[in-house]
């Protein structure tokens, strides 16, 4: 990967970084932060689900572990917030590696993989809901103590900036997948696992690497969630909502594409906000719309929004862009 490969990322990050300073209202800033958190979780999902073809229904397991680790380490052990961030990401990736080790060893993929990841997340949710260290059903509150060293930023605009930087890390990692041997191995496994193995790809190690990396990004999203909302309970941290939104954003945006998860998160949460506005805040209406969008995407645009724009771009330039984008989608 050369510096040139990173060029497309810069303008996007620049726009996102300037956006909060254009005088957005507080609620728009909050929406932007939430979009970035979901985008980051979706970037994590995309590593495994988009590039690896392993659709998980349980990324909450990683999100929640990151979120809880950050909250618990700070409140119960007095660990510095930045150290807690690192610890959250590490613990989240360890959970990923552990689940990967168990499931890949048993050769689970496709629907089985989706279901078992969901079960793991649910197990963690139930445990977190009834154990003492997580605060049980009452949840955990991180005391407000503004300051850069505590990773709590009073000025929402700077929190947006922090979240955008994290999304930038996700973009760079995804770009690296596009350009590295590891990424090529992963895509080869998605397309045909047996063939990849026959060509000498160490399938087990590559899949383990993918789920660990995927979990790390989603755990980082969890840490950001904790630092932003300063409150956590089992249904927020390990609940199905984040698994679903990460999956939605990645698929609607475009599986196995660099900008897909970001586009998906912005479009979905934007659409959700608009429907909330129009429906007068009836609970469930935004998710109803999400569900319809998901079905339509799978039916008519399996490569997501990024796929649509790539296709029209390619038509215009008559194939000059070669075949650098992923065409395969999410086939198991």
């Amino acid at each position: 990967m050369s510096a040139r490969d990173l060029f497309p990322i810069l303008p996007v990050l620049l726009v996102l970084a300037v956006l909060p300073f254009l005088g957005l209202s507080g609620s728009l800033l909050n929406l932007l932060i939430f979009m970035m958190i979901v985008a980051l979780a979706a970037q994590g999902w995309n590593v495994l689900g988009g590039y690896g073809g392993l659709a998980s229904f349980g990324h909450a397991a990683f999100f929640g572990t990151g979120a809880y680790a950050a909250a618990i380490l700070q409140t119960r052990y007095g660990v510095n917030a930045w150290a807690a961030l690192v610890a959250g990401v590490v613990l989240g990736s360890l959970v990923g590696a552990f689940i990967g080790l168990l499931t890949f060893r048993s050769g689970l993929k496709g629907s089985y993989f989706a279901l078992i990841t969901l079960a793991f997340a649910e197990v963690l949710r139930i445990i977190a809901n009834s154990s003492e260290i997580t605060g049980g059903g009452a949840g955990i509150v991180v005391p407000i103590d503004y300051g850069f060293e505590n990773l709590q930023l009073r000025d929402r605009r700077f929190f947006v900036l922090l979240a955008v930087i994290c999304v930038g890390v996700g973009l760079v990692i995804t770009r690296w997948l596009d350009r590295s041997k590891f990424g090529a191995y992963l895509i080869a496994i998605r397309e045909n696992e047996d063939a990849a193995r026959a060509l000498g790809v160490n399938v087990m190690n590559v899949k383990l690497g993918a789920i660990t990396l995927s979990a790390a990004l989603t755990a980082l999203a969890g840490v950001l969630y904790t630092q932003n909302f300063l409150f956590l309970d089992a249904n927020v941290a390990y609940g199905p909502w984040i698994s679903i939104e990460a999956l939605f954003a990645a698929i609607v945006g475009g599986l196995g594409t660099m900008f897909g998860p970001l586009i998906g998160a912005v479009v979905l949460l934007g659409a959700g906000e608009i429907t909330k506005e129009f429906s007068g805040g009836i609970p469930g209406f935004d998710l109803l719309v999400f569900g319809v969008i998901l079905i339509i995407t799978v039916a008519f645009a399996p490569n997501g929004l990024a796929g649509i724009s790539l296709k029209s771009f390619r038509r215009k330039t008559r194939g000059h862009t070669a075949r650098s984008s992923r065409d395969g989608g999410a086939d198991a």
Binding site: F120, N129, G284, L287, L294, I295, G329
Partner: protein, 290 residues
């Protein structure tokens, strides 16, 4: 330690609730065995049926057991339509895509119900809801006993449909060899939809049996869907007998773990069992196919 009659009572009541679980799982495993798809919307369809039963009770005063007769054809038709016109065309025959479409459908149904009915929990207060049968020292729930008997009867009906009718013969043919079935003139898409319809119809029965002893809110099906998957996996994906036995087993496991670990951790037993079976015996305990 609990006295023996309390344990026995809990286990037998668990067995009877397990029978209704089994019915939910029979529908799911049927769909898996023939279409080879994991129908993630199965739980949402159950929720929908339960709301149907509740509506008929609340607004027409219809007894839940009687409502089954009305709801079964409706769910049959709905299942047929959803498979034929949504899942079939939108899934493109790809495993992951189909899974995602069914996930999308479940989200649409769940949140549609949330929009219409809000998140309130609804129950049906029948005069037999708390009736018990005394057998020696044991007190058994009457509606659960009805559920057990009716489940077995439904399972026999499903078995008869599969083994004694032309449609059943076609379903079995498609399950065994899709291409061959097409070659001898079976309309595979129609049979897919018929199977999906049959699986959904089982849910109408299950909903009617559940409502007198259970509650419904838009999320109810979510709790059942993993339980049903656990049963299906345990019984061997696609095995109807396996689903029946698996359902009974899960009912007992849940009752036992609720008794000894408390309600919230009782659910944990099911998920852990699910994970263990998938990891170590993914073909299930009774891996026979339909």
């Amino acid at each position: 330690m609990y006295p023996i009659p309390i344990i026995a009572e809990a286990l037998i009541n668990g067995l009877m609730l397990g029978a209704v679980y089994a019915l939910v799982a029979v529908g799911l495993t049927l769909i898996y065995g023939v279409l080879h798809i994991v129908n993630f919307a199965h739980g949402a369809f159950l929720t929908l049926s339960m709301f149907g039963i509740w509506l008929l009770w609340e607004h027409a005063g219809l007894d839940p057991y009687l409502s089954i007769l009305m709801l079964t054809p409706i769910m049959f038709g709905l299942g047929y339509g959803v498979q034929r016109f949504i899942i079939g065309p939108a899934g493109h025959g790809r495993d992951n895509s189909i899974l995602l479409v069914t996930l999308g459908i479940s989200i649409v149904i769940e949140n549609g119900l949330l929009v219409v009915f809000k998140s309130d929990t609804r129950t049906i207060a029948t005069d037999y809801g708390f009736r018990v049968i005394e057998i020696g020292p044991l007190l058994l729930s009457w509606p659960r006993a009805v559920g057990f008997v009716a489940t077995m009867a439904t399972a026999v009906i499903v078995w008869l449909i599969l083994n004694r009718t032309d449609v059943g013969k076609a379903i079995r043919a498609v399950a065994k060899e899709k291409l061959g079935a097409r070659l001898v003139g079976i309309d595979v898409n129609h049979i897919y939809a018929m199977t999906f319809a049959l699986g959904s119809a089982c849910l109408a029965v299950a909903a009617g049996l559940l409502m007198p002893v259970f509650y419904v809110n838009p999320q109810t099906g979510g709790a059942f869907v993993l339980v049903a998957f656990t049963i299906v996996v345990l019984g061997g994906m696609g095995s109807v007998t396996g689903a029946l036995l698996g359902g009974l087993l899960i009912g007992v496991v849940e009752a036992a773990s609720s008794l000894f670990l408390g309600d919230s951790l009782g659910q944990l037993g099911i998920f852990v069992l699910f994970i263990l079976v998938l990891l170590f015996k993914p073909t299930g305990l009774f891996g026979a196919r339909i």
